[in-house]
Subunit: 602 residues, 2 copies
């Protein structure tokens, strides 16, 4: 993940800054600060893109302390702050001369949504720097929101959830109970039908604590769930927490793609119905991946259940990591698991990519929510990697890193070394353990991990029972003590639940946390639609790639439904071949290709 972070810093953040300037979305703040009429650029929620970029910058500054980035952040702060109204209101799309009045369109106005992203950027700044002009702007915004939407004010919600988690996090970061209470009010107001029509789309159909599953617009649903967990944890509301956990469980069991992608439906960018998980029309929006990680992370913190860490890993490696090109400058908005045709690349500059333009990454979008959302997520990835409590340290994601913390005032520091996911070995070395106290270091054991074992500091080995979610060593560690978690990352066949109709009769290959896919580039002259694979033969690793045994069939066109299959389904016909696979996240990095994750089984 540090490579991804380096690309994020060197390329993605500056790429976003370039586009936001180019399109005038930052310039909107300059115009708004004049107090006069102006022609505004971008969609009504474009302010949020600027804030998400600010959040990415704040985390990145915390990571490296880059002074050039700090200067850019300060300049952005100045320009944003200049547009703030006297009473704290801050949005370049409403309330200025010639614009619609504030809060006239809670359904689609995105004002509280934008405010929420500003607060999340301020949380990042507080965690990485402390109070400054940026966080002062955010405080005034948060106070304005509480003044306006508190009891006796506008007792409604925003059509796009985001303010809920943001206020709760900002309350945590500032210690201001008023913000948490406002977050709680927004959570409770959902499902009270204070918005016009279409309640399911923005989760205004059923109160959060009464809902049974995540539904409607996926990003909205997941941001709301994240905020609900924050409120539940901070207020001790176990009923609310249990409700979100149950919604999450059903969503994972019935509305989630193998990649961890959520939101199966292009129409409304929404969660589809249970088991409606077609791979070729899977929307699986990148931002829904970001939002799902946010929700899973909060559930992990709330419960300690490592299975939430599994889901973060799955989404991070397969949805998020692949949503941005290796060079950090182009992005998938949607992440379907089956791309039927090899499509041309969208234009690099000038034209904005259509979100559903096909299987190629775009450089910017009309609704360009994913580039900045990915940038802020990668910049803060360290947050998702490890936690500490009074017992010790928990390692949730496997990446080379150092953990340097204080527990009860005593320093405890670790170095994690791993070539994961290429290798299934994670070594933890204790660098400091002040006072030589007994500490526990626990590592998540992925649910799919076979043959997992712990090699203790003394060289003894513990086999880990399958199904164990986390394994740890508790010792009065001395600096230099080392132990190792090992498990198999050999490629493996994965089959779907029979209720996932769209991939019945197919199999996919996973390798460690990576979902693999086939690209037509590797089947010259062949057609991925005319392929069957032999799942009786295990996938093999050769020359750094994973290979499966396959057959390519001749298939003639005609009325495609009839009394018997056109051929004997690949059992004994077709041309035998070996098909190399590649990680789903690396699709579309070698040129135009058709692609599929789920391979028809012979």
């Amino acid at each position: 993940w540090s490579e991804r972070q380096a690309v994020n810093a060197a390329a993605t953040i500056q790429h976003c800054l370039h586009w936001l300037e180019e399109l005038g979305w930052i310039g909107n703040f300059d115009h708004a600060s004049t107090g006069g009429r102006f022609e505004r650029s971008g969609p009504q929620f474009s302010d949020s893109e600027v804030y998400k970029l600010a959040e990415a910058m704040a985390w990145e500054i915390g990571r490296t302390g880059d002074p050039a980035l700090e200067a850019q952040f300060a300049e952005l702060t100045r320009r944003i702050g200049a547009a703030q109204h006297e009473d704290g209101y801050l949005n370049t799309c409403y309330g200025s001369p010639g614009q619609r009045p504030r809060y006239a369109d809670l359904e689609w106005g995105h004002e509280l949504y934008c405010a929420g992203h500003l607060l999340q950027a301020a949380v990042a700044r507080l965690r990485n720097h402390g109070e400054d002009d940026f966080t002062a702007i955010a405080r005034r915004v948060a106070d304005h929101v509480c003044d306006t939407f508190g009891p006796g004010g506008i007792e409604r919600i925003c059509g796009h959830a985001e303010i809920e988690a943001a206020l709760a996090e900002f309350a945590r970061a500032t210690g201001e109970a008023r913000y948490l209470e406002q977050a709680r009010l927004f959570i409770e107001r959902h499902g009270r039908k204070t918005l016009k029509e279409n309640g399911l789309y923005y989760q205004d159909d059923v109160p959060v604590r009464d809902a049974e599953v995540l539904r409607g617009h996926a990003v909205r649903a997941l941001y709301l769930a994240a905020g609900a967990v924050d409120v539940a944890v901070e207020t001790g509301d176990t009923e609310l927490l249990d409700a979100v956990r149950a919604q999450w469980d059903r969503t994972v069991a019935r509305r989630t793609h193998l990649t961890g992608g959520m939101g199966s439906q292009y129409a409304d960018e929404a969660f589809g119905r249970d088991f409606a998980l077609g791979p070729d029309r899977a929307y699986s929006e990148s931002c829904a991946g970001v939002a799902a990680v946010m929700t899973a992370w909060r559930l992990l913190l709330a419960t300690g259940d490592a299975r939430y860490g599994d889901m973060i890993e799955r989404i991070a490696w397969n949805v998020l990591s692949g949503a941005v090109a290796p060079d950090g400058r182009s992005f998938f908005y949607a992440n379907p698991l089956h791309q039927r045709t090899a499509d041309p690349e969208p234009p690099r500059e000038g034209a904005l990519a259509h979100l559903s333009a096909g299987g190629r990454r775009g450089h910017w979008f009309e609704v360009s929510c994913c580039p900045t959302n990915l940038a802020r997520t990668f910049a803060q990835f360290a947050v998702y990697t490890a936690t500490a409590d009074d017992r010790g340290v928990q390692i949730h994601q496997f990446t080379p890193c150092t953990v340097d913390t204080e527990i009860d005032g005593a320093r405890f520091a670790l170095t994690v070394e791993t070539a994961y996911p290429e290798e299934g070995s994670v070594t933890v070395r204790v660098d400091a353990n002040d006072g030589g106290r007994r500490r526990e270091v626990a590592l998540r054991v992925p649910a799919w991990a076979e043959d997992a074992r712990l090699v203790h500091p003394d060289g003894s080995v513990t086999e880990i029972e399958p199904g164990t979610a986390a394994a740890g060593v508790t010792e009065a560690f001395a600096p230099g003590d080392e132990f190792r978690l090992e498990f198999s990352v050999a490629p493996r066949w994965t089959l779907p639940d029979p209720r996932v109709d769209a991939v019945r009769g197919c199999a996919a290959v996973e390798q460690g946390p990576l979902v693999l896919c086939a690209e037509s580039i590797d089947l010259p002259g062949g057609d991925l639609d005319c392929l069957t694979v032999d799942t009786a033969a295990a996938p093999v690793v050769r020359d750094g790639r994973v290979w499966v045994a396959a057959r390519v069939h001749d298939r003639a066109d005609g009325w495609p439904y009839g009394p018997a299959r056109p051929d004997d389904e690949g059992k004994d016909d077709g041309e035998p071949t070996e098909l190399p696979l590649l990680p789903f996240r690396l699709r579309d990095t070698r040129g135009a290709a058709a692609m599929r994750v789920w391979l028809p089984a012979a």
Copy 2:
């Protein structure tokens, strides 16, 4: 089909008239006729709904001569005509004070689209009645279109095809070559990118004669194809005809559902990519069914190939017939083959149904194109039933009817008797054959028909080779001569081409021309998602229903992808049961139910 026509006359046409009045879509013509400003009702293309209803009325008047309907038609004619401008222009949405100017928005304005439907209604009137005030209005519209869009005029197209087929048909009905030439110009202009962006959506991406498949918005694509066939036939342009035939063939082989439904994608109401045919998100719009019948019919007339008749039959019995409730007063806009949940019925009055509201028929829609489109199609269904040429008569669709025609000035009349599709027996009795000349009576033999045979007037029997598209008797018939086509309509298992990923491992049951489905009502306490069927056992008919052997499985939730299937896929587990099926067209007639056509095979 005569029952369907009776319901159409008694219920659907009056239902449409009621809604068009209620919503003010007819009233728009009254307002426009004043020449002043008015607040217009309905979407920009609502005039076309009035014209499609007029077309239905014209055909229905031709069928029964109902004087009450004739009076309604005359009144509608008066109100429409009053809104016509001096120069022939007629559209209530543009060109009046306070409205946008004419033809300012060819992409979305639908002006030529509306004009096209007016012309098609006039064609119906000419065929069933002759010249009158209505056809005079239409002539002025057609002349205005030619004046405005001819060479040197606005050399562009309408964003919604329809004017092409309408002008060609109107040319045929009036003998006016100018209209055909204008139709030809519109066809040739498609694909020249005279519309802004989004060319694929409205088939402005590639010239008609260069395209390889039907694509973009399905109704637009099919109306355009119908117009192209008209132009090709009337101008002797075999290259254009062959191009459309090839597009149709690929569309049928790769972009058509088992029901004959076309347009697999909710987004853009569009044709999906090849083999992207998920049953649960199949859009399969009712109007695309109407348009596909129009196209197939023209191809049948152009080529004589009975396989086009097969497709008309498939669409008519499964998409069109089921798109309207048995009482003729509620409609499916989309016709997916899998409805995952039992949804509540939309409100009967007042609120307009959302087109994708789920698996229940709605009474009217915001974009309410299907009720009037279905009404006009059922009213003219006789047209699709039989044709005559100088050899004799061709029966394309099997329904009790009489055919009374003149060939070379000599009367030739038949009566067709059949209980089809309940029974696979079609009896033709000759009622008149002036001069006792040798005539051929040919009947389509459906491609799926097994054991087909002809019982000749003399009682002799000819077995029909499988794959024979049409079978006929040529004799110097005498009145009273009778012969019979017989074939099996026993229910049969149907399997998909392996490239139709979304239904891999499933089977469907067809019975004659009917696609059958399962509804959850018939599986009390069971879940259609947890079912497997035994395709080794033939479906049986008992108590007037079709039954298949099935098993109901227990399936637990959890992460739905893993190393082995949760159970042994129904081979020897699960509760055995018998599942009754019903025709797809009769789904949602017994209350809320989940439904599926494709059944997972054990």
